[in-house]
Symmetry: C2
Subunit: 670 residues, 2 copies
């Protein structure tokens, strides 16, 4: 018996290496509203036949596909693009087919150029056009026109040499005929890409955001516990400084059992405890710490902030203090020790007895998942759309994938920041399963070479298609050695790096502006007298706060800094000087940043710029406008001198003004 | 209503980036019998729990999976391996789970080191062991032993500080307990990799083969048309020269209509025509050209060759002369012009009127496919297992994927060489759909940098896992400018390059040995008086033939040259000198080749070797034994001088003898 042949033996087009596609289509690529999705793929067939390819896409809520043509680049690579204008999930796929008419048309041109007798070929073309006319029958005008065009290819004169074929068979089969033939192309044997590839579209703030973190507890007057109302009073200033996300550590009631006091000792009476020890007799994850105010106060804070263009971001920390109502109402959600007690958090030999983690391996996991989802939905209903998620890497990936998808079904505007400081593949996986943004290793990348390496990795596909870095020079848990020892220049340098390397960045504001660099003890990254356990009275350094405002203003004015695409590093001939540019796709906005990562010494170097790539004319001077100081320099050619004195300012942010007037611009010369 | 939770919320392990896997599992990776398949994957989970992972594999003919453990490397990457001992398809997958006992065991060690009270922890461990004992119940000995071990963890002494826990809880939970706990691990929540990944296993000759091409027509005595019997007489010599595949152009009857004569002119009476114009009244693809002999003669040639260790490779050229029986019996397999004639082959404006291509878009494609398969099966039944496939890139990929799979169902030993000189992605696709080996761009890569670039590309994964290069310095269609202008040194250099860069290589032998470098016309890569259209009387250059034999002998003696893995390029400080090494995985055999790609001048340079990677002791001299000349050099350190005079020999092949005796080796010193 003859072996069976496949059913699709006539489908000749192959498709490979489609981008953006994460892990063979397992996860969606990410974009924000208003962006364009550039789709590429290797599309080819056997032999020399011409191909046609279209990109098909739709928003998940739409039933009809929209089609847009793809065009060949080089080496069998094709490209198409589509705009994403709505929040939520889009899907795209590719359809391609052998375009016999285009093949015929190209070959006809060669035959004519070689002076060959093309009568039979014209007849071949005429028949193809007639077949197409038959397919187009529904729309009679096109059909009739195609029949006319077919007719015009049939030369009445029997002596072909004497009568060269007239247009459209003159070797330029273009315009109308090509359009009609494409419109009614025979796609019966077209190949459709094996998958519908997903793209998840988020709000613009998922890509470009500027975060300010503070502990409401320290915003009160003269040593009193701060409240939401106190925070509300700070909003205008935070807005003026250019922040658009205000992130608060957990705002819920704090447990009393094993409460931590100042500097992580056992709490003394009256100490406020760590806000991450969530839950007390006053309530759990859906309650508000009475010391901060009421739910109504919180809602008002959210609303007032929105008026200033600021989103209040809540901390989602899925863990409980020993006093959390869940521990009584749902003991099945926790792991129990042989003595019947609930297992506290630990990283042996360290113990965190004020925290009970959930047991995600409980057989009652479905109930636990539902309850945790209900927490996020609850706060979303209070007007919160930005969440900073604490330690997501200690909960299952499948849980986050489910929770984020469910949250977005109701709130597609939700933005989630993953606070996972852990192994790289775990951090990337969390981004793949849905987190909008991620904390990074930025805090510990302090030399120019480390920064170059790390940000080169982050800007490669496919990482750049699913992982959006959010850069923090400091957090309540991270006071780096660089900040501890580098003084003011270190704070300035890290601010400038974070704000220009990352379209999203944030600072744990009050201590950063206060230039707080003192650790709890030598070798520790914990702050002394950390605000996690006590109230602090921060003394902000006005010049630091001013620099923060200037840098944020520069970010707002320059679209190049509002995306992580278009990052390029530039050789400086000095390993203490890091130089990089960001530019918009059209090069209308090009920003060069030069940072001296050595906080102690003046560094000099030559910045080597690829002028052509940056859209700068090679043979004219151009202006480098330093945006922090306002100074303007006249640069010339690709190699220009820079000197950066950390004692005055360790970083410079240049905007290029491409056209510098010269004597040729005087009327005299025109 | 609460949103549905997924069914597998307890499966915590993620798997990514599994290798070898071609295009997300769409195509099999390739190996040969006797090799080891090294499988790697990123395997990780949330949190800090320990993991266990196993690789599962089986031959397609086996119903039971075999399991072998995987071990962690760094950065969440795991590795396992399995041997492939049979021809045909293997599949593998990965299973991984959270290993709670291992987590417990690691943490216990830390707790003990910190001097903590571990009574409760020992009870936790004892319970885990008891649960495992319950799972092991079928095999009572293990079960009982586990219960004993659990018991030993329960400390009778109520004062734990006074009685440190005894082994196996001493922080070294190893040996017996670990083995038993792994054997009966709870895999209820294990993650299995999403796919069964395929590996296709071929004969060793698919990886390591040495090809000799000749036209039987020219093997006759004194101008007479050669026959299979004449070829048979040449076999001992071809075998002595070290070739193990003898490839013959098509052996079928040759068409008369539009037959091509000498130098591609119209044939005069008596001219033999091109063997690729297949089919005449004497038969088609299953017939033998009577001028060469009978089918019985051919079968005897195949058998005699096998006795010399040589496979006769047939040319599969799926196209017809106008006289082929198919053109009458199956006109539906061809494309017809408006005047009713069959469409000949063309690449406008060039016409090849002696060749009719099949129309793979015919609605009768199923019958065509079956017939073409029957041709290959027919020759396989005559004892042929190696096929050189002519222009596979002008037939659909789906056709080849089907044909090769069907051929291998009956003949898993079949080896197919793809003769596709076309765009890179098309060549790679043909390899993916099943061709064992592929012609390459080698002939046109003549500078050291071109060779470095191209062979670096070919040795990267995933390309190296599906594309096996077969390097040809010349073919009947390719006489490169380098050979035309470089004289004897060019032929020698290209031979040495092909034989040492490629585990498989071949020469179109007689003209190569005759140093034939004359093109049909300036700018052409066609031979003058090409054997494709006429008989030739080749005058082999004895020293060239001798070099071929020496080089092939070196290949047979040195396993490093029998695989394309283990290729490394080395900096020479001279752009005309290309240096590279190949080594076996254990470095037992290390071969360094240095070729002067400039056929006209002596070139000198310093070869920079990574001694440690090559397994050469850094602090001792080592011997570089040049295998062509037999000369032995004493080298020292990573940087050694080479001088290559193309007039004597443009390439050198060194084998390193690692241990050079010194005075320390005399008994006197011992």
């Amino acid at each position: 018996m003859a072996p069976a042949t496949p059913t699709d033996g006539l489908r000749r087009v192959a498709m490979e290496a489609v981008t953006p596609e994460i892990d063979g289509g397992r996860f969606p690529a990410k974009r924000v509203v208003g962006e364009t999705v550039v789709v590429e793929g290797d599309i080819f067939t056997d032999g020399q036949d011409a191909l046609a390819a279209v990109l098909r896409y739709r928003h998940e809520a739409a039933t009809r596909w929209i089609e847009t043509p793809m065009a060949p680049l080089v080496n069998d690579r094709w490209r198409g693009e589509f705009p994403v204008t709505e929040l939520g999930r889009y899907v795209f796929t590719i359809e391609a087919w052998v375009d016999h008419f285009e093949t015929w048309s190209r070959q006809l041109a060669k035959r004519l150029a070689a002076g060959q007798d093309v009568r039979l070929e014209l007849e071949v073309g005429a028949r193809m056009i007639e077949e197409t006319a038959a397919r187009a029958d529904g729309t009679t005008a096109d059909s009739a026109r195609l029949r006319e065009l077919a007719k015009s290819l049939r030369i009445p004169n029997p002596h072909p040499a004497a009568s060269p074929p007239t247009s459209p068979a003159s070797g330029e089969v273009n315009g109308e005929l090509t359009t009609l033939m494409r419109r009614y192309a025979d796609r019966a044997q077209a190949t459709t890409y094996a998958r519908e590839v997903e793209v998840f579209v988020e709000p613009q703030k998922a890509r470009f955001s500027t975060w300010y973190e503070l502990f409401p507890r320290s915003t009160g007057p003269a040593g009193k516990h701060g409240t939401f109302k106190d925070v509300e009073r700070l909003l205008p200033e935070i807005g003026r400084m250019g922040f658009d996300v205000l992130y608060l550590p957990p705002i819920h009631p704090i447990g009393r059992t094993h409460r931590k006091g100042a500097n992580n000792k056992s709490a003394q009476p009256g100490e406020p405890g760590s806000p991450w020890a969530i839950g007390s007799e006053e309530g759990g994850h859906k309650a508000v710490n009475p010391e901060l105010g009421t739910l109504a106060d919180f809602r008002r804070l959210v609303k007032t902030a929105a008026g200033e263009g600021i989103d209040v971001a809540l901390d989602i920390a899925f863990q409980c203090s020993p006093d959390h109502p869940y521990t009584r109402e749902h003991p099945e959600w926790f792991k129990h020790r042989p003595d019947g007690s609930i297992q506290y958090a630990e990283n042996p030999p360290k113990k965190y007895e004020d925290i009970y983690p959930f047991d995600f391996e409980t057989e009652h996991w479905r109930g636990l998942w539902q309850e945790l989802l209900s927490i996020v939905l609850y706060w979303a209903e209070q007007g919160v759309s930005v969440f900073r998620v604490d330690n997501p890497h200690t909960k299952p990936f499948a849980f986050w994938e489910w929770l984020i998808a469910e949250l977005r079904r109701a709130h597609p505007e939700a933005i989630l920041l993953s606070e996972a400081f852990t192994r790289p593949k775990v951090m990337y996986r969390l981004a793949k399963v849905g987190f909008s943004q991620s904390y990074t290793y930025f805090a510990w990348r302090n030399t120019a070479y480390e920064l170059y390496q790390y940000f080169t990795e982050l800007s490669q596909p496919p990482i750049r298609d699913f992982f959006r870095p959010n850069l923090w020079p400091n957090t309540p848990d991270i006071l780096t050695e660089y900040l501890q020892t580098g003084g003011r220049p270190a704070f300035q340098a890290r601010l400038i790096l974070a704000a220009t390397l990352g379209a999203s960045y944030g600072i744990y504001g009050p201590p950063f502006e206060a230039l707080e660099g003192r650790p709890r003890e030598h070798g520790s990254e914990e702050y002394v007298d950390s605000e996690k356990y006590q109230l602090r009275n921060w003394k902000r350094d006005p010049s630091m706060s001013e620099l923060v405002g200037i840098v944020n203003h520069i970010r707002r004015e320059n679209p190049a800094l509002q995306s992580d695409r278009g990052l390029r590093f530039h050789f400086t001939e000095n390993e203490q000087l890091l130089a990089y540019s960001k530019s918009t796709p059209d090069n209308a906005n090009v920003i060069l940043t030069v940072v001296n990562v050595d906080p102690h010494h003046v560094q000099r170097g030559m910045v080597n710029l690829p002028l052509e790539e940056l859209g700068i004319e090679i043979d004219r001077s151009y202006q480098a406008h330093e945006l922090i100081s306002g100074a303007r320099y006249l640069w010339n050619g690709p190699r220009n001198f820079v000197e950066v004195n950390p004692q005055s300012m360790p970083g410079q942010i240049f905007r290029f003004r491409r056209r510098v007037r010269s004597e040729h611009d005087f009327e005299y010369f025109l």
